[in-house]
Structures are given as structure tokens and as C-alpha cells.
Amino acid sequence: MSTRRDTKVRHFWLHVVAIAVGLGIIVPVAFGVLGGFKDNGQLSTNPFGLPDPWVPENYTIILGSSGFWRPMFNSTLIALTTVVVLVLVASMAAYVFARFNFRGREVLYTLFAAGLMFPFTVAILPLFVLLRELSLLNSPLGVILPQVAFGLPMTVIILRSFFRTIPGEVEEAAILDGCTPFGFFWRILLPMARPALATVSVLSVVASWNNFMLPLVVFTDPSWWTLPVAVQQFQGQYADDTARVLAYVVLAMLPALAFYAVAERQLVGGLASGATKG
């Protein structure tokens, strides 16, 4: 009896801690959401309360402007293209690494895996010079192709380890039935690997959506800006108009949060498996 009460008391305190941490996350976001419905006068006089009166203009003006929808479209286009190309290229490589024996396999694989050590930050300057020489500045390919290249290590590692779990008998049977290596890859391996493909797709969508440094230097033309670049520029432009910047940030958050709500399982699973395998 007393142990049950102990557990109850302990759980009460655990809830207190969890709620405190939760508030630490929710309050800044709520400050943003509500702040967007206030005007700047209200922000200083009435920081915590509900807006009075509610001022929806901050949101409606942004929602009616191409300065919001254009970056949204660009971010979506770039994220989707990156994922499609990355998953295709990486799964082809992972298939070869997982199921073929050839000279230099381990060396090449180690080279790819070592790519985890080369992040954008280190390479951004020479990458910029290179993209300029290739005339890829102000072109979506200038962001997509490097994103694919830098996404390869993690994706190849996760996919290879998944492909290895598919029994060799499946492949032998397919080949006896007259399947070419490509036929096996395309018609049998990829469909079987759907959960792993979902995981790596979700990870790379998030990475592309949140990428800032590369689009920042590649796109000088505002009509190609992605959402993070546009958010930063908007903040610079309306530095004195806190309420309006809050409204823009909140709207820019929504797609990521909606995506999270849908794909939480793949994201969490992917990060856990990626970290242990990388």
C-alpha cells in the first residue's frame, strides 16, 4: 500500500518536471503565435495575455503576399527533388555495396562513410567557388545536387545495412526466374525496403527543408529564396515590427510541424537507427 502511494507521489513530481519542460517549449512558441495577433503596442503593454483586440492583419497580409508563398514553393520543390534523386542514387550504391563482391569495395565504402565528417559548413566556400565555375548559382540544381552529395553518406549507410538483412535466397530465386540485377533491384529489393526508404526520405526532407547556408550563398536572386533564407531576410527587413516578424515565423513553422505530426515515427526511428549505425 505504501509503495503504491510512494509511486503516486513520485509520479506527481515526474509530471511536475515534465510539465515544466513542456512549458519551456510551448511558451516561446505560444508567445510567437499570440504575438502575431497583437500590434506592437500590445506586445509591450500586454505581453502574456490574449490579444485585445485580436489583430489578424499580420497574418492575413503575409498569407496574401508572394513573399511567403514563393519561398514555400521553392522549399517544397527543392526538398522533393533532393529526396527523389538522393534516394535513387543512394539506394543504387547501397545495393552494390550490400550484395556484390568487387575489388575496392571496402575502400570505397569507407570513403563514403567518412563523408559524414564533411559537413556543408566546412565545404561551403570552395563549394560556392565550384558552383560559380559550373554556372549553377541562382539555379535550384546548385542547391539540390550538393544536398544529394552531402546526404549520400548517411543514406547509403542506413540503406546498405537494411539491404543486408534481406536473405540471399530471395535474390537467387529471382535470378533463377530470369531476373536481371536491375530487375531484382527495381521490382523486388526497393519494394521490400519501403520502411527504410521512408526513413531516409523523411530525414532528408527535414535536412533539405531546414538547410540555410547553401541556399543563402547560392541564391542571390530573391525569387529563388527558400523559407529559411526568406525568414532571415524578412527579419532584417522588418526588424522594428516585432509582431509582423512573429507572424511570419509562426507561418513558416507550420509546414515543418505538420510534417512532424505525420512522420514522427519515421523521424524518431530513423535518427535512432542512423546514430547507432553511423
Binding site: F31, S44, A93, L111, L125, L152, R164, Q235, L257
Partner: protein, 309 residues
């Protein structure tokens, strides 16, 4: 039969070549290429324009690096951020992971909330917190005055003595959920029998944690420390948007310094030297860490790989 085997071999070789080619091409041109290019241009004084650099200066850029107070400061600030992460952020994340491992009502919801900031971009997080920390209308100061701590109000991001801690707070706000998820996955991988056996043998909660849970979480903790340090070495987006590295360089990181020289002041040669330094620091750290800290974990991984083969 022999002919078909040979044909099969040739087909295999062709498959390997064709399937590897796109990945290899992209990787060599866009990942390896830039690193090599940075090493080359770091040996020149170069403004970044007009074909290849001409003005060869040897290792001068690197000598300048070690006399540059800002760069030395970057290293110190990086070290502070790493220490804060490892000794504050990660223990908190571990504590919360163990909390969420309890059979608590609503824990799925807590987990959803704790992890949510991870999906927001660093830019969005940083812009939001610029507002939170803004001196007049910001949330932080208004909370302070609401609970009667007016004298602790600050221009958080404009004060050289608070800015690094404000930055650390925002980093932790965004990333503790990631580490928590890793620990939670690691904790759930520990068989129940082990902790139960320890409890039946009379171990207290603390002893179970200290002598069973913590050692078995070792590999996860080592990975999470690794990710945290590599992240700190490359930190850019958050700082760039939150403070731009200021005031007077007091929140600047290596990446910000590199960006300033490379993209704002057209000292591409010197900025390349900073890139190379960042690369070498990450590489040396990664090799040493894997050699001395993660050795046992990797040995385990390699033996399981051999079994599968």
C-alpha cells in the same frame, strides 16, 4: 554452363559500375572536390575572382590564423559550448529520457512536445528567440519583471557576458529532444530482466542507475557526445541569425569567422584556411574519439557485421 557464368560475371561487373557511377560522381565532385580545393586555395592570397588563384603565400594564412585573436576566441568559445553541452544539456536530456521511460500517463504526448523543436530549422528557432530575448518587448525580460526580478533584466544578446549563455540556451532548446530520443532508444534496448534482477538483489534506484543503466547506455552516450561536439564545431545558422557573431565577436564561431572573411570581405584564401582548420579539427577529433573512446563499441559493431556476412 561456363559461358553463362562468364556472362553473369560480366553482367555483375557492369551492374557494379553503372550503379555506383552516379553516387561516386556526385560525391567526388561535390564533397571531396571542395575539400581538396579548399586545401589548395588556403595556400594563396586570393579574393575569390578570376580563375585560379595566383599569389602563392605558402602557409602564411595558417600562421595568421594562430595569431588571429578572433580565431583563438572561436576555439575558446567552441570549447565552452562543448563543455556546457556535455555537462548540462546532455545530462538533462538523459534525465528526461529516463523520466519518459517510466510508465507515466501522457508520456507519448510529452515526448512529442520535447522532440518538436528538433524539426524547426535553426533559422526559425533563432528568429523566434531573437524576439524572446529582445530587450523591450521580449518574453525573457517580461517574465523577469512579472516574477519580480527586474534587476536581472538584460539585453541578453547585446551583452558580451550573457550572449554565449543565451546562445547555449537556444541550442539546448532545439537539440535536447534529439539526444533525449537517442537515450530513450538506448534505454529501451536494455532488457528488463537486468534492472529487475538488480532490484531483487536489493539494489536501490540510484545503484541500478549507476551500475546497470548507465554502463549499458555507454555506447549511446558516446555517440550523443560525439554528435554534440561535431555539431558545436560546425555551428553556423543559429549564431548567424541570432547575433551575427557579435557583440564584438563574443558569440562568434569558426564557421561565422570563415563566412565573414569568405563571403563578406573577399579574403577567400584566408577563409579557406579557416575551412581547412575546421576540417582538420573535426577529422582529428573524430579519429581520436573513435580510436580511444568508441573503440569497444566499434569492435562490437565489426564483429556483428562479420557474423552477418
Amino acid at each position: 554452363m561456363e559461358g553463362s557464368l562468364r556472362r553473369r560475371r560480366r553482367l555483375d561487373k557492369l551492374t557494379v559500375a553503372l550503379f555506383l557511377a552516379p553516387a561516386l560522381l556526385l560525391f567526388v565532385v561535390l564533397v571531396v572536390g571542395p575539400i581538396v580545393l579548399a586545401m589548395y586555395t588556403s595556400l594563396f592570397k586570393w579574393n575569390g575572382f578570376g580563375g585560379l588563384p595566383q599569389d602563392f603565400v605558402g602557409l602564411d594564412n595558417f600562421r595568421r590564423l594562430f595569431e588571429d585573436e578572433v580565431f583563438i576566441g572561436d576555439l575558446e568559445r567552441g570549447l565552452i559550448l562543448v563543455l556546457l553541452s556535455v555537462f548540462v544539456q546532455l545530462p538533462v536530456a538523459l534525465g528526461l529520457a529516463l523520466l519518459l521511460n517510466q510508465p507515466l500517463r501522457g508520456r507519448a504526448f510529452y515526448r512529442l512536445v520535447f522532440f518538436a523543436p528538433y524539426v524547426l530549422s535553426e533559422v526559425i528557432t533563432a528568429v523566434l528567440f531573437t524576439m524572446v530575448f529582445s530587450p523591450n518587448q521580449g518574453l525573457a525580460n517580461q517574465v523577469m519583471s512579472a516574477i519580480g526580478l527586474e534587476n536581472l533584466q538584460q539585453e541578453w544578446l547585446a551583452n558580451t557576458s550573457t550572449v554565449l549563455y543565451a546562445l547555449f540556451f537556444v541550442i539546448s532548446w532545439k537539440y535536447f529532444g534529439l539526444h533525449m530520443i537517442l537515450y530513450l532508444a538506448g534505454r529501451q534496448g536494455i532488457p528488463k530482466e537486468l534492472t529487475e534482477a538488480a532490484l531483487t538483489d536489493g539494489a536501490g534506484t540510484w545503484q541500478v542507475f549507476r551500475h546497470v543503466t548507465l554502463p549499458l547506455l555507454g555506447p549511446t552516450i558516446r555517440i550523443s557526445v560525439f554528435l554534440s561536439i561535431i555539431g558545436a564545431i560546425q555551428l553556423f545558422d543559429m549564431v548567424w541569425v541570432l547575433t551575427g557573431g557579435g557583440p564584438i565577436h563574443s558569440s562568434e564561431t569558426m564557421a561565422v569567422t570563415m563566412f565573414q572573411y569568405g563571403f563578406r570581405r573577399s579574403e577567400v584564401g584566408y577563409a579557406s584556411a579557416i575551412s581547412v582548420a575546421m576540417f582538420l579539427i573535426s577529422l582529428v577529433f573524430a579519429l581520436l574519439y573513435q580510436r580511444f573512446v568508441m573503440r569497444r563499441d566499434i569492435e562490437g559493431a565489426i564483429t556483428t557485421m562479420r557474423e552477418k556476412r
